[in-house]
């Protein structure tokens, strides 16, 4: 159903982290559950809210990667519960500083990987914050956010371009989700932002934006408040004024030339708690 979820190891890991998270939550719901499986790191999960004590281990599958398996340090899920190492020494080492809301199910390794993927458009706390948001949006816990889940955010659903954006957004996993949003980071160059806009226009992905592409965006933006004739007239008019014709095709460099000297303010602040 989702062509974007690739089955490579790293993606799998994200889903596994999620499943793990989900599993822990389930464990905590029912009562004092002690689940033992074979693995390396033993963690106790507990919190102040109830009967939450599930001892579980990461399955070996998780650490089958090339890196050396190591005990998980303080990790707290979005629900505020804690995962503490079993060994007191480690708990003390972890210290209260890491106990706050900054920790997540992501390890340093994961965060760096995501950062690399999005050209360091977001800082580490921002990635953590985005991960919480991603988990929140991903209601069924599948490891990717479906179009339907995006549409359940009313502020997004009322956006005139939401349907168009959904084609780019449907079924993104966390890494792709961050990559998508990186166009809105203040650290991203103007050129990358314009490339992003170009991608929104270029629905058939042929590297060219034609009259019809522009017309269809204009249609989304104006809806029933302009007639088709008016839209064509407006578009033809501005094209001719800029020295193009109705049959011109814009490639990315053309596009950047047109948008180049305007002030693009495409920045979204990621809240960090």
């Amino acid at each position: 159903m989702s062509p974007f979820v690739t089955a490579n190891r790293k993606e799998q890991k994200y889903r596994e982290i999620k499943n793990w998270n989900h599993f822990c939550n389930q464990t905590t719901g029912g009562g004092v559950g002690f689940i033992f499986t074979i693995g390396f790191a033993v963690s106790i999960r507990f919190g102040s809210s109830g009967v939450e004590a599930g001892i579980a281990t990461r399955r070996t599958k998780f650490s089958s990667a090339t890196r050396i398996p190591r005990p998980v340090t303080i990790v707290s899920s979005g629900s505020g519960d804690l995962l503490l190492p079993l060994f007191p020494a480690a708990a003390v080492r972890g210290g209260p500083a890491e106990m706050g809301s900054t920790s997540s199910m992501l390890t340093q390794y994961d965060i760096e990987e995501v950062q690399d993927h999005c050209n360091h458009a977001f800082s580490q706390p921002e990635i953590v914050s985005l991960y919480h948001r991603f988990c929140q949006l991903d209601r069924n816990g599948g490891g990717f956010v479906s179009a339907d889940e995006f549409m359940s955010v009313p502020e997004f659903a009322v956006n005139p371009l939401s349907q168009r954006l959904l084609r780019m957004l449907d079924g993104l996993n966390f890494k792709e989700f961050v990559a998508f949003l990186s166009a809105f980071s203040p650290r991203t160059s103007l050129q990358q932002k314009m490339e992003f806009i170009f991608r929104v226009y270029d629905t058939d992905c042929n590297g060219k934006v034609a009259f019809d592409d522009m017309l269809s965006i204009l249609r989304d933006l104006t809806g029933s408040f302009m007639t088709e004739q008016q839209r064509q007239k407006v578009l033809t008019h501005v094209l001719e004024e800029a020295g193009y014709t109705k049959d011109s095709h814009f490639t990315l460099p053309d596009f950047m030339k047109i948008l180049g000297n305007s002030e693009l303010k495409m920045e979204v602040e990621v809240p960090i708690d």
Binding site: S48, V153, L235
Partner: protein, 371 residues
């Protein structure tokens, strides 16, 4: 009139969204000529969409707040464990027992009264009202409710309706323990539905299915009848229509504010020190919610009865609802968001999108004509 107003609910029942949106999402005054670049630059719309993906005020309203973990220390951990043992091993069984005895006593008294005193309606409804109040006190005791009521107790007069912010169904229990209100509620399945049908009918509660438009019409008519009758219990409405996490308030539905009578606001604020009282009905059944409350140390809560408000001259029902919401939000320290709580179940109406399209189209046409 009633029916038309309910049917139009979805369309008209909303405050002015523009008041809440950030100013830069509205088109800037730019009476310059229209250039190709202006038309191609869709960055504001994209930024708005991305902003909504990263963070949105609607989702925040329904986010459960887990209590701050405090058991991280090697010294605190045993204490916390001891707490778990006490809460689950001692408090929970004791509370369950209290609840069971309460129910037994309640049923033992309620059914005889209900069926034997058929002739004397006045006496019967009085006893039944007291019994329901007693049962609610038992419920409150079962989670060691520490509830402070501020302000004068509600009086039972006709032509008034009480409105309160809504966090969980326990709101109703907490308010009912002091005064027998007749409440308007969503139909529930399971044992809650059974209690609704058998017992709460005796205090005059009205329920409906929020997705059924015809049901809503009938409810509107029942409301009007109810407030006119002097011997009925005062009416309590949760105009948000859904449970919110007690940090935000969503839009108040205007139904309660066009009955033409005094509106008495009630603000409820829960202290999250021991447990979050928000009932996230998508994640938890009501039974599990109660169990969660019963295994916590206590439910701490403040209730404020605020002075009655009347529709001012020239004020619309929507403006009136907003004014009352302001009062409750200020008193309980809640943040306001413009969204309709029903969006939890439905998609937003295309009206909002059309409004954005209209503004954009007008600015394009205006700038074109200037040429």
């Amino acid at each position: 009139m009633a029916s038309s107003s309910v049917a139009a609910d979805m369309e008209l029942d909303r405050p002015n969204l523009e008041d809440y949106l950030p100013p830069d999402s509205l088109p800037q005054e730019a009476p310059r000529n229209l250039h190709l670049r202006d038309l191609l630059d869709i960055s504001p719309v994209l930024t708005e969409a991305a902003g909504a993906i990263v963070d949105d005020s609607f989702t925040r309203c329904f986010k459960s707040n887990s209590p701050e973990p405090w058991n991280w220390n090697i010294y605190l951990f045993p204490l916390w464990c001891l707490g778990v043992v006490i809460r689950y091993g001692i408090l929970f069984p004791l509370r369950s027992l209290t609840l069971a005895i309460g129910w037994l006593a309640f049923f033992a008294a309620f059914f005889p009264v209900h069926f034997l005193l058929k002739g004397q309606d006045k006496l019967r409804s009085k006893i039944e009202r007291k019994l329901v109040e007693m049962m609610c006190s038992v419920f409150v005791a079962s989670w060691t409710g520490v509830i402070k009521y501020h302000g004068p107790r509600p009086s039972t007069r006709p032509h008034q309706v009480f409105v309160a912010n809504h966090t969980s169904m326990i709101d109703f229990i907490i308010l009912e323990q002091m005064t027998a209100f007749a409440v308007i509620m969503q139909k529930h399945p399971g044992w809650v539905g059974f209690i609704q049908k058998t017992i709460l009918e005796s205090v005059g509660c009205i329920w409906f299915n929020r997705n059924d438009l015809r049901d809503r019409e009938v409810t509107a008519r029942k409301l009007r009848d109810h407030v006119q009758q002097p011997d009925k219990n005062p009416l309590l409405i949760f105009p948000e229509g859904t449970c919110v996490n007690n940090q935000y308030t969503v839009m108040f539905k205007k139904g309660a504010f066009e009955l033409g009578c005094a509106v008495c606001p009630i603000a409820i604020k829960y202290n999250k020190i021991f447990v979050d009282a928000f009932w996230n009905s998508k994640k938890q059944s009501f039974t599990m919610h109660l169990v969660r409350l019963m295994t916590s140390w206590a439910v701490v809560c403040d209730v404020w009865y605020l002075p009655p408000q009347y529709l001012r001259e020239g004020e619309t029902a929507i403006a009136f609802a907003e004014r009352v919401r302001d009062m409750i939000a200020a008193r309980a320290g809640l943040k306001k968001v413009p969204w309709d709580g029903y969006l939890k179940h439905n998609r937003p109406s295309p009206k909002h999108t059309e409004e954005k399209q209209r503004i954009f189209a007008e600015s394009v046409l205006m700038r074109l004509e200037e040429k």
